[in-house]
Symmetry: C2
DNA sequence: CCCCGGTATGACAACGGTGTCTTATTGGAC
DNA sequence: GTCCAATAAGACACCGTTGTCATACCGGGG
């Protein structure tokens, strides 16, 4: 029924163990033998049983990607990045959604590891900051890499981008266009990134010698709705902002929507900037100036680190990119 | 190091085999023994090795979800549905992205099955219609269920929704609001659903006694850009449509965007309808009237069928839902 | 009282590979 | 020519479960 190493070894005229050696690219196999085995493998279209390899060997050729993020775009990008690196390595990816607030989180992760013997784990934000998850992984002494962790940076290897710098860059972009009154919409309070983006905004203002005005800053929750509300509050001010920087694209879309509704012309009456460069950024009019998070690359780099034989703790920062589109423009001299 | 059945059996004071029986919920275990084993399992926090179960037994407690769809929303919803059903069953889900145009598609799928011994496969559209994939699965005699297949309906079990009826319903909704000149933007030619939605549009017109005008129908490609272009073409007609029905939300957003740019008031000057009910539908102004595809439910139902012990071929149709929002309105008497 | 089917449990091989150890064969340094 | 390290390949146990078969007990019908 199933094709096994035994069949391959028979065809190639060598021992089972030698076939195993070829499969695992071990040293001490003659070129001639290697070729014979490879031909037999191809002829039989043989794929080794992962279950058997896992049971007998010390590797499982599987890693787990654990996530709890409700943005399909983000998850999709992460999966793609991890998957791409896995494919190069001939390793399977187990995608594992979890609920970081679940009281059984540690148990679920522990069970996953015991059942599947995964060789390593990728943690995607915000699971990166769930203490229960981190403790469980530590206890099991399994290697893991975190994508965009918010806390405990020293703990493990991680890859991330600099949210502070990115928000600073965007704010500076607006300042360079002549804006002085720049509104800001803070992200969801649960997200580490929200604080960092807020801080980057302040830092850029400081450097430009512009006073930070709390009245120009509103709390949002990362959704469209909250962007609209923030825009309404900001644009009803007596001394209105000439630009609004929202901490993510959904909220920026909300700002845009409200601005249109009250008849403002974006970008000439009001510049609007977002963050994340989701597809949405190009599905609104005008297309949003925003910050591209290299999510796919982060995921790829994280997986790469997981496969790296050197177990040193490494922190890798990837570069963000300012995507300047139609929603921001130089301040009109009025 | 690792906790095994042996440890459990020692603690519980029974044989290895008996523990196995409890784990697999087999008959012929006394209540007393079962309880003892369950206590030992809990005490040791034992999770059985999937690799060993797979190797020794006839099941692998894993299924594969194979997809090649570039819409993150769709994939995410499918994964969620499949995952939810798997979790109930205590089965792992292997998410496997593929490229349906790859010449090695069959080999990849074959390799996946050989390596992982998955118990079954869920095929998500459009992999559902890749002959190479179907042949390979047939050859391996593995059970699989298809989500929204476009062809070969008789071949295997499947779950789907009625795209024709949904497009018919939406068109009828517009007709009921008094519209007679209804533009239509066809979806990507590679997608089976495109034809069906187009056909549903015609059917509704027919039934209402409205002539089908090819001039009111444009080819699109499911993306924002093509929606804008189609809108431009349609709205430059001497005898303009009063409503435009786009085959998906992205294109509808494009229509909306173009309409705004030329100063039309949606929905009073023009009604716009989409299809799919992606989150985008509520991130544009006004929010889109669209059709909700029950993607998550489809995926859940498909997985349920996969687990169903009865191997009969079943076709299950799930109900769509018309989401009437702000982008459509009764025709203004002018 | 004996036999039998239903219930409850254990012994043991097998699943398909890898880890470890052993053995044989080279080719170069002395 | 001898010795040794490097190279090449095989024998065999073992990984942690499940499938199969054997065994023992129990209660009821003849």
């Amino acid at each position: 029924m199933r094709v096994t190493i035994k069949d391959v070894s028979r065809i190639a005229g060598v021992s089972i163990k030698t076939v195993s050696r070829v499969l695992n690219k071990e040293k001490y196999v003659s070129d001639d033998t290697r070729r014979k085995v490879e031909e037999a493998v191809a002829a039989l279209n043989f794929s080794p049983s992962l279950a058997a390899r896992t049971l007998a060997g010390s590797r499982s050729f599987q890693i787990a990607l654990i996530y709890d993020n409700h943005s399909p775009y983000y998850i999709h990008a992460v999966q793609e990045g991890v998957w791409n690196r896995c494919r190069e390595e001939g390793v399977r990816m187990l995608a594992q959604p979890v609920d970081i607030d679940s009281p059984t989180l540690a148990q679920e992760i522990g069970g996953l590891i015991d059942e599947t013997h995964v060789d390593g784990v990728i943690l995607s934000s915000p699971v990166t900051d769930a203490p229960a998850a981190l403790e469980e992984l530590e206890r099991r002494r399994i290697r893991f890499v975190r994508i965009s962790p918010g806390t405990n940076h020293a703990l493990t290897s991680s890859v991330f981008m600099d949210d502070v710098q990115a928000a600073d860059d965007m704010t500076t972009h607006l300042i360079n266009q002549g804006h002085r009154r720049i509104g800001f919409v803070i992200g969801h309070p649960n997200h580490m990134a929200s604080d960092q983006r807020h801080f980057g905004y302040r830092r850029a203002l400081d450097r430009a010698g512009i006073a930070y005005e709390p009245g120009l800053v509103r709390q949002g929750t990362f959704d469209f709705e909250s962007g609209m509300e923030a825009a309404e509050a900001l644009l009803k001010l007596a001394h209105k902002p000439t630009a609004i920087f929202a901490s993510n694209d959904d909220m920026a879309a909300g700002v845009l929507s409200y601005a249109h509704r009250i008849g403002l012309d974006v970008p000439h009456d009001l510049s609007v900037a977002g963050f994340d460069d989701t597809p949405l950024a190009q599905l609104v009019w005008p297309p949003l100036t925003t910050v591209r998070q290299p999510v796919r690359d982060l995921a790829y780099a994280a997986t790469d680190q997981l496969f790296c034989p050197d177990p040193a703790i490494v922190h890798q920062r990837l570069q963000h990119e300012l995507m300047v589109r139609g929603s921001t423009a130089p301040l009109r001299k009025s």
